[in-house]
């Protein structure tokens, strides 16, 4: 643990410090949005959004390196793809009477396919595994500012609309009867989830981002009495998992993404076991 703290302070390993800071800052958005995803049971929607991100990243890389649009960072492509996917999924989820799962599954795979094709046509510039499973070397100072911006947006909207979002998440029909625009709030939740997913793809990758979105909230949910408590608990859990995961990966020279996810998964199992024991 001592070496880990030393590494965080060392000027030669700025990428490591960035990874820790990004994880720590993103824990706020992840804790808050993960709570909604778990409480509303929409992790498969978030999963589809996460996989569509690869399409945006691939397109961004292609535009930058092959077409020559040098200012177009792949993160912009990722953000656009995630927001578009959230809109399509949200509208399907709101309006489709049936086959919603088929449409979402198709979108999930199509996003990945588009991304892999673009990456295949942009050889030499990117290793797809970095995006699929995360690579802390990819994190830059710009990402830190983006996460700070996201935290402010997420926390601001949730503070302003907490009661409406609670009502829509708990009982959509009743919320509509109380005059709320439930479709708008549903879309808002999905768009915020999309933005949160995009920024954490850097740390744990597309394949594992859903685990880091849902496991801290699931751990907090085993003990929380209210959505507020669950958000706070999920934020603290996420911070703990990222810190512990990065420390272990540094000490044992392991890839950080999988270690963070395993720490989260083991913690969830312990939380479930703890709840069972407490019930006896």
């Amino acid at each position: 643990m001592f070496e880990f703290i030393e590494a965080l302070r060392h000027p030669d390993v700025a990428f490591f410090r960035y990874a820790f800071l990004l994880g720590a800052l993103a824990s706020i958005s992840f804790g808050v949005m993960g709570t909604y995803v778990v409480a509303r049971r929409i992790s498969y929607l978030a999963g589809a959004i996460a996989h569509c991100v690869l399409g945006g990243i691939g397109a961004g890389l292609y535009l930058r390196h092959k077409v020559g649009i040098s200012w177009f960072d792949p993160i912009y492509g990722a953000i656009i793809a995630a927001l578009l996917a959230a809109l399509v999924i949200g509208l399907v989820s709101i309006h489709a009477r049936q086959r919603e799962d088929t449409v979402i599954g198709a979108l999930w795979a199509t996003g990945m396919a588009v991304g892999l094709l673009f990456i295949a046509k942009t050889p030499g510039y990117v290793e797809p595994m970095s995006y699929l499973f995360g690579n802390i070397l990819l994190i830059s100072q710009t990402d830190l500012w983006l996460v700070i911006g996201l935290d402010l947006v997420v926390v601001g909207i949730v503070l302003l609309c907490y009661n409406q979002l609670l009502a829509v998440s708990f009982d959509q029909e009743f919320a509509w009867l109380r005059g709320l625009n439930t479709e708008l709030y549903t879309l808002l939740l999905l768009l915020l989830t999309a933005l949160t997913v995009v920024l954490l793809v850097r740390v744990v990758g597309i394949v594992m981002v859903i685990a880091l979105l849902t496991l801290p909230a699931a751990v907090a949910g085993t003990f929380a009495r209210t959505l507020r408590q669950m958000m706070l608990g999920a934020t603290l859990c996420c911070l703990l998992f990222v810190t512990l995961g990065l420390a272990l990966s540094f000490n044992y020279d392991l890839p950080s993404g999988p270690v963070i996810i395993l720490v989260a998964a083991v913690s969830y199992l312990l939380a479930l076991a703890g709840k069972k024991i407490a019930a006896y």
Partner: protein, 255 residues
């Protein structure tokens, strides 16, 4: 908001189908202000669908539903709805008071509650006799208690028309008696529509009964008898009349 002489709810020529399978057809129904109407019928007969059409949660394929002369969606703030408690995610983290406060949404721009909202929510909880559960988690209380919390949430709306879906499901006789007394009290100032399987409950409280089995026929409750129930359900149904003194020794509850 109500037009003079307008009924609380007016349904005319209603037709509704799910995936081309007709659920309700040729439905005409008029519910006056301060009326108490019970909707009974077999499973799949269209009771809950009819309730959702009145609430504006579904739109008719043909015909019209009007609430005080206007479209249900425009009048939704005047409707208090009590769904079945089993409709909720048992793991959702929310306290009893937070559930009831949802009934105070929509009263003004913004979603912050004021002290007056909390007072109304607590009064509503007291009316259903559950003040001591204010801070409990909604999913951790019993089914009957959850049903009463949902009734308290509808009361917190201060709506003039109350619609309840199976409010007596999974509650014991004592709680049902309390609910009966509460509804009777509320009916002095509110129109009440209840969907129920409990024909005995219907027979003891309501002024009128609407038998729903794709079509709707209304009758004064006094006309409810075994023949009518047999026609509605297609078989004999035990009718237990709840005279709300059945707990007393020597009372005759069976009909």
């Amino acid at each position: 908001m109500s037009g003079a002489g307008q009924p609380a709810i007016q349904i005319s020529g209603l037709y509704f189908a799910y995936d081309r399978v007709p659920i309700l057809e040729a439905v005409d129904l008029r519910i006056e202000e301060l009326d108490s109407l019970c909707i009974v019928g077999p499973n799949g007969g269209g009771k809950t669908t009819l309730l959702k059409l009145i609430l504006g949660l579904l739109e008719p394929d043909r015909g019209q539903v009007l609430v005080r002369g206007r479209q249900p969606a425009e009048m939704r703030l005047h409707l208090g709805y009590v769904p079945q408690y089993s409709h909720y995610d048992p793991l959702f983290p929310v306290t009893v008071l937070d559930v009831i406060l949802m009934g105070r949404l929509g009263r003004r721009l913004g979603g912050f509650y004021r002290a007056a909202d909390r007072r109304v929510a607590r009064d509503s909880l007291a009316l259903v006799g559950l003040s001591h559960l204010e801070h409990r988690v909604f999913s951790a209380i019993s089914g009957g208690q959850r049903q009463r919390v949902l009734i308290a949430r509808a009361l917190a709306c201060e709506a003039e028309i109350l619609l309840l879906d199976e409010p007596t499901a999974n509650i014991d006789m004592e709680t049902e008696n309390q609910l009966f007394n509460l509804l009777r009290e509320l009916n002095r100032t509110r129109t009440i529509v209840v969907v129920t399987h409990d024909v005995g409950f219907a027979s003891s409280f309501f002024q009128r009964i609407a038998c729903v089995n794709r079509r709707v026929a209304t009758h004064p409750v006094a006309e409810l008898d075994g023949r009518m129930i047999h026609e509605l359900y297609g078989s004999d149904v035990a009718l237990i009349r709840h005279d709300h003194h059945c707990g007393k020794k020597g009372s005759d509850c069976g009909v």
